[in-house]
């Protein structure tokens, strides 16, 4: 309609925040709490939502998605928990080693790609490791609504059981923790059997665990629509490659330690994005032509689309070959 055209900028709305607390939770995980610079309340959100944290790492802009783990009804603060990834590209290390109380940072508005099915008669949660974080806000939301939930949480050891003790203390009847180092594992087959009609299952954790829950639920006759998962993929380093951009009429180079999306942004190309983890679909880009192999790492395109070589998700996927031409 072009009534009052306004340029749409990429990504969600942003909020300036001050780091109000940095709390080590265990050897790998640290919690970061934020307050708003402008003193306004934070937007309330729905359990399972994430925020994209924008980091200024010595002039290099890093943007990583983290689940919001605070109570959605508490508009005075947002909190995230970050697991240190020593082999990653540096976002989590930056958070762990550089971010101090009082620092000013930028967060995106909440975005939810892992929301509760509010029709569910019962919510069955499966968490692995740092995958516990979205469930913390879901549990807070369900507790306010008198929701029916149960958590099965797999951790490496008691020392690395992020929030496991807190949860067991607070909700002794709902929370079940399984310790790898004691050879305990989630009795998935039994749990999927005999749940009341209208139960929804949710899983967040390592890739293998997500696949295990989906496959087991399918085997047990669960409808796909009642099994929900969220997995953010961190962009992986890879061989540098060149990309020709039709619309922008330029050729850019993607470095070893940056994603295609980051290279686009570095060159001032306005590319859409939201989650930056291969889950939301917002950055989907059409491939005009290519001579080489794609390294698809997203969860958005299906297998046929991956095989067709006509689409790429620049936030996590890469390319190896002689030439790549994108409609961007």
């Amino acid at each position: 309609m072009s009534a009052a055209p306004q340029k749409t900028k990429s990504g969600a709305e942003q909020i300036e925040v001050t780091v109000s607390a940095v709390v080590p939770v265990n050897d790998l995980v640290t919690r970061f709490e934020f307050s708003r610079v402008d003193g306004q309340p934070f937007p309330t959100f729905s359990g399972g939502a994430h925020t994209v944290v924008i980091m200024n790492d010595d002039g290099r802009r890093r943007m990583n998605p983290y689940s919001l783990m605070s109570d959605p009804a508490d508009t005075s603060t947002y909190a995230i928990s970050v697991r240190r990834d020593d082999a990653g590209r540096g976002g989590s290390l930056f958070m762990h080693t550089q971010v101090k109380v009082g620092d000013v940072m930028t967060l995106s508005y909440p975005v939810n790609l892992f929301s509760l099915d509010l029709r569910a008669r019962k919510n069955l949660f499966f968490a692995g490791g740092i995958g516990i974080t979205p469930f913390l806000s879901m549990i807070a939301q369900l507790e306010r609504m008198n929701g029916n939930w149960e958590l099965h949480y797999s951790v490496r050891s008691a020392d690395l059981g992020t929030y496991a003790d807190d949860l067991k203390t607070k909700y002794p009847n709902n929370v079940h923790v399984y310790y790898d180092d004691q050879s305990q594992s989630i009795p998935l087959t039994d749990l999927l059997d005999g749940q009341p009609l209208g139960t929804n299952a949710y899983v967040c954790g390592p890739k293998g665990m997500i696949a295990w829950v989906h496959a087991s639920a399918k085997e047990a006759g669960w409808p796909d629509a009642q099994v929900h998962s969220e997995e953010f993929t961190a962009p992986q380093p890879g061989k540098p490659f060149e990309v020709r951009l039709c619309k922008s009429d330029m050729t850019i180079k993607v470095g070893e330690n940056e994603s295609l999306l980051e290279a686009l942004e570095r060159e001032g190309v306005d590319a859409p994005f939201l989650c930056r983890g291969g889950a939301c679909g917002q950055c989907e880009t059409t491939v005009v032509s290519h001579d080489g192999e794609f390294i698809h790492r997203d969860h958005w395109l299906d297998d046929d689309q991956h095989a067709s070589g006509t689409k790429i998700m620049p936030c996590v996927s890469r390319f190896v070959g002689a030439s790549l031409l994108l409609d961007r």
Binding site: A3, A4, Q6, P43, F45, S46, Q282
Partner: protein, 355 residues
């Protein structure tokens, strides 16, 4: 400005009328001399002062009369307002969105006082002053969605989002262009759009759904849609087709300018925070052809759009039988001059009718 609310009706004697102010700010939907479907979305972040795009929820001179008409429709047919059990939280989200927006955008008309979950809501035009507990349905006379949409112009569809799909799981629908909430309740996005011609083949709905699923908190969007209505009727529902459908045969060359109305929907889309649902307000604006013709640009353009509209669309929008008579009327206001781009009337720069 303080709005003078009209004492008018949208039924029986049809005393509805637009003031000069309302005509000037009418959301004329055609930005060029022809029309075809498009996913014509843009951000809903205000607009020119005084325009219908300026506020999150536009309030105009028809507010009080429209709310009176809604109450009459609901008294006859309570199923115009429905909310499936899992949508109550989305209803509270919507109540908060409307109360916060209206009290901030129209502080002289609406007040919201919040003390924790103890809220006091003052709606001066409707003489309402209620205190209630947020998220406690027992403290309101209706469910939260019904309560607030009895006080807000336009229809409201509250869409649940699951499995990368939108579901029509709640709504308040009394000013609709011939569709039924009672029929569509529980349907998904493709199901409730099934009757629309051409757009499916064009891939419009796939693109629109993808856009809507990605609307985020804090980033509302909007678009316009339109149709034609004989007499200023808000409730053109399938349930009441036997009452209003027949009125389409009452047009004559003499009464057409006054009776034939262009009906424009300002559709907006907001992500709701607690429920992650999407609310889709559909605000209806009516303007008679004779009032539209006071803007020379709109006269020229409306003639060309109606003349060149594909037959399927004229049929779907319900005016194929009256199109020849409408064209006879509209052609008097088309002198063949070119028109400026965009939807605005450009009264100062567009030449008067040259005949």
């Amino acid at each position: 400005m303080t709005i003078q609310f009209n004492n008018e009706t949208f039924r029986d004697d049809y005393s509805f009328s637009n003031s000069d102010w309302a005509i000037k700010r009418f959301p004329f939907p055609f930005h060029e001399d022809s029309y075809m479907y498009s996913v014509n979305m843009e951000q809903h972040r205000g607009g020119p002062a005084g325009s219908v795009y300026e506020k999150r929820f536009d309030v105009d001179e028809h507010y009080v009369a429209e709310m009176r008409d809604r109450a009459l429709v609901l008294a006859d047919d309570p199923l115009r307002c429905q909310s499936l059990p899992h949508m109550t939280l989305a209803g509270w989200d919507l109540l908060e969105l409307i109360m916060v927006s209206k009290s901030e955008d129209y502080p002289d008309l609406f007040e919201l006082h919040r003390d924790g979950n103890r809220w006091r809501w003052v709606n001066k035009p409707m003489g309402i002053d209620d205190t209630f507990t947020f998220l406690d349905e027992t403290t309101l006379p209706y469910g939260p969605m019904e309560y607030i949409t009895r006080q807000a112009q336009g229809d409201f569809c509250v869409l649940d989002q699951r499995d990368d799909m939108l579901w029509m799981d709640a709504g308040m629908v009394t000013t609709q262009a011939d569709w039924s909430l009672d029929f569509d309740i529980g349907m998904n996005f493709f199901e409730w759009h099934a009757p629309v011609p051409l757009a499916h083949e064009m891939g419009i709905f796939q693109r629109a759904l993808k856009f809507l699923l990605n609307i985020q908190q804090g980033s509302p969007a909007r678009r316009l849609n339109w149709t034609m209505t004989v007499n200023p009727l808000l409730d053109t529902s399938p349930e009441n087709y036997h009452k209003w459908g027949i009125q389409k045969t009452s047009l004559t060359p003499e009464n057409l300018g006054a009776k034939q109305h262009l009906r424009v929907e300002l559709q907006t889309f907001f992500r709701l925070p607690r429920s992650n649902a999407l609310v889709f307000p559909i605000r209806c604006y009516l303007c008679s052809f004779q009032d539209l013709m006071t803007m020379p640009k709109w006269g020229r353009r409306l003639h060309r759009v109606v003349r060149d509209l594909p037959e399927e669309l004229a049929t779907y929008k319900g005016f194929i039988d009256n199109r020849p008579m409408m064209l006879d009327y509209l052609s008097q206001y088309d002198d063949g001059l070119s028109t400026s781009r965009g939807i605005w009337p450009d009264l100062e720069t567009e030449p008067p009718l040259q005949r």
